[in-house]
């Protein structure tokens, strides 16, 4: 839908506002890497010179590596599991006429809206009642609940984006459900799967609240960072760690978002051509 010319006339005030908005949005975040190279244990202006000392300090710290490893150990299975479950759920939501469909979707999406804190304490209550010791497994379970709605939300448009008749055609040409999935569905939702893997891994990797309530002795990176906040002399190395986290997750997110949307766009134009 293209608007007529008089509606498209550039609006200078709005353009300036947009720039200011973006600056305000990114400025606080960019301060973190900025100060992580500042040669002072105080986070203040004026800057006092360039150093990589804080990064060097991190490198030598075993707990950083331990918690990094813990985060990866949680994030990888969580992203794979939640994407797998998301594929199954998104498929049945879009393909089968299930009774109570919208109620089910709302239920799956609940963790997107309800504060994670409540999920955290509720899970904590459950686990302590059951006598399950807190560990990285419990953290992963918590993350699974946080990640599932994101997986489903990323995959749903994918499944909606291609026509049901393609799967019917596969069945018509003699393939059963299993082969139809691998020969038709999977290749067509592949970008969504990649996006879901990347996004859920990042979410799990960055997640704080669930890990805060459900961690045992081993802690993930965000929890380590949180504990270091208490020590003012650690502030620069916390900044360095935070910079690394941002540096690490940004590309994953960018690729994830790009893939998920780019593919969709392509698909719709293709659909329009037929």
């Amino acid at each position: 839908m293209s608007a007529p010319t008089f509606l498209r006339r550039p609006n200078r005030v709005l353009s300036v506002y947009a720039i200011l908005f973006l600056v305000a949005l990114y400025f606080p975040i960019l301060l973190i890497p900025l100060f992580s190279f500042n040669d002072s244990i105080y986070v203040r202006f004026p800057l006092e010179g360039f150093t990589t000392e804080w990064f060097g300090q991190l490198w030598d710290r075993q707990p950083v590596w331990d918690s990094l490893w813990a985060s990866v150990k949680v994030g990888l299975p969580v992203s794979i599991l939640s994407t797998t479950l998301g594929v199954l759920a998104a498929r049945s939501i879009t393909r089968d006429r299930v009774p109570g469909r919208s109620a089910v979707v709302t239920f799956i999406m609940l963790p997107l809206v309800i504060p994670t804190l409540i999920f955290g304490v509720a899970l904590l209550a459950l686990l302590s009642r059951l006598g399950v010791p807190l560990s990285l497994y419990t953290v992963a379970f918590g993350h699974l609940i946080v990640c599932l709605p994101f997986s489903v939300a990323t995959l749903l448009p994918r499944f909606e984006g291609f026509d049901r008749s393609l799967e019917q055609a596969s069945a018509d040409l003699g393939e059963n459900g299993w082969w139809t999935f691998w020969r038709v569905t999977f290749p067509l939702v592949m970008p969504g799967i990649v996006a879901s893997l990347l996004l859920t891994f990042t979410i799990s990797f960055d997640e704080f609240i669930m890990a805060f309530f459900l961690s045992g002795n081993e802690t993930t990176l965000p929890i380590y960072l949180w504990t270091q906040l208490r020590f003012p002399q650690q502030f620069p190395s916390v900044l360095a760690l935070a910079s690394l986290l941002i540096l690490f997750s940004l590309p994953l997110i960018l690729i994830g978002m790009w893939i998920s949307r780019l593919g969709l766009h392509e698909n719709t134009t293709k659909g329009a051509k037929t």
């Binding site: 949005l25 759920a89 299930v98 809206v113 459950l126 599932l148 965000p222 960018l254």
Partner: protein
């Protein structure tokens, strides 16, 4: 039958056998098939969401007894919440603070969403990704960034001192409700854009042409067409910000100080340092009830807005 070509008929002939009983049942019953596929997800969410909430509900009727619990059901915790002003004040403050943050976020994001919907013609996707990208950066880090800015020796104070505009750092910046509200607004801005943008993008541009044709200028057009038609997006965005911010923990914990504490911090404390789980459960249930009430209100508002549009 006439031969089409040299294709060997037995190569492609398929048995018209009926498969097993389960396969047959699944073929005939689409609902069953659907729920079977969703069952892992639903089981996990049941174990991870519904059962924990039920347990929380049960615990909320218990009371603390020494280090353990007194499991005789009682409304004592609820009575305390009603009777002791501290709880009411904290609850009220949480709603009030997240309410202000919500209004501020919408007010700040609306023009931006409007800009992308109406004035960006190429690379819309690039703009949308650019705006929503920060939302995906760790929430903890985004809050942490504001600590860097608002801290006693933070960016603002040190800059002002360095510029000579103030003598001593301003103390009210950090550890205040204002700090929390600013941070919440910033943290959720990237999220609020999407529903606003979607509702603005959906507006049929020919309506604006018609309004102009009927004599409306840009301002009248905005207030008479664009704003009312984008109301569903405004309501959705408000809901999506208001609910999670009410129960936020990280922001008030890092930036709130004693005056900026919210209900989430109290709940965490009950499960942590205060070690009164029944009270924590009670507060969680109350927060959930509040969320449910707000959700219903928003649902009603959405219906109303849509009814007006339709």
């Amino acid at each position: 039958m006439t031969q089409t070509s040299s294709i060997d008929p037995k190569v492609t002939s398929r048995p018209t056998r009926t498969s097993g009983r389960i396969a047959r049942l699944l073929y005939r019953n689409e609902g069953l098939r659907g729920y079977l596929l969703m069952s892992p997800t639903l089981i996990i969410l049941t174990v991870g969401v519904i059962i924990p909430f039920l347990i929380l509900l049960v615990i909320s009727f218990w009371t603390r007894a020494g280090v353990g619990f007194d499991t005789t059901p009682s409304l004592a915790n609820y009575a305390r919440v009603v009777n002791e002003p501290m709880f009411g004040i904290l609850l009220g403050r949480s709603f009030w603070m997240s309410g202000i943050a919500t209004v501020a976020t919408i007010a700040i994001c609306y023009p931006m969403a409007y800009f992308v919907a109406f004035h960006v013609h190429r690379n819309k996707m690039f703009w949308l990704i650019l705006i929503t990208l920060p939302f995906w950066i760790s929430y903890l880090l985004r809050v942490f960034a504001w600590r860097v800015i608002l801290g006693y020796e933070g960016v603002i104070n040190s800059s002002l001192v360095w510029l000579g505009w103030i003598k001593a750092p301003l103390e009210f910046l950090l550890y205040s409700p204002t700090a929390v509200i600013i941070t919440l607004t910033h943290a959720w801005a990237a999220f609020a854009i999407l529903p606003l943008y979607v509702s603005l993008e959906k507006i049929d541009k020919s309506l604006l042409v018609a309004a102009t044709d009927l004599g409306d200028g840009p301002v009248a057009r905005f207030f008479r067409i664009t704003l009312p038609l984008s109301m569903p997006g405004v309501i959705a965005a408000s809901f999506l910000i208001f609910i999670p911010t009410t129960g936020d923990y990280i922001t008030p914990a890092l930036l709130g100080g004693p005056d900026g504490m919210m209900i989430g911090n109290l709940i965490q404390a009950q499960f942590g340092s205060i070690n009164n789980w029944p009270m924590g459960a009670t507060l969680s249930i109350i927060l959930m009830l509040w969320i449910a009430a707000v959700a219903l209100a928003f649902l009603y508002l959405t219906r109303l807005a849509q009814a007006r549009i339709a």
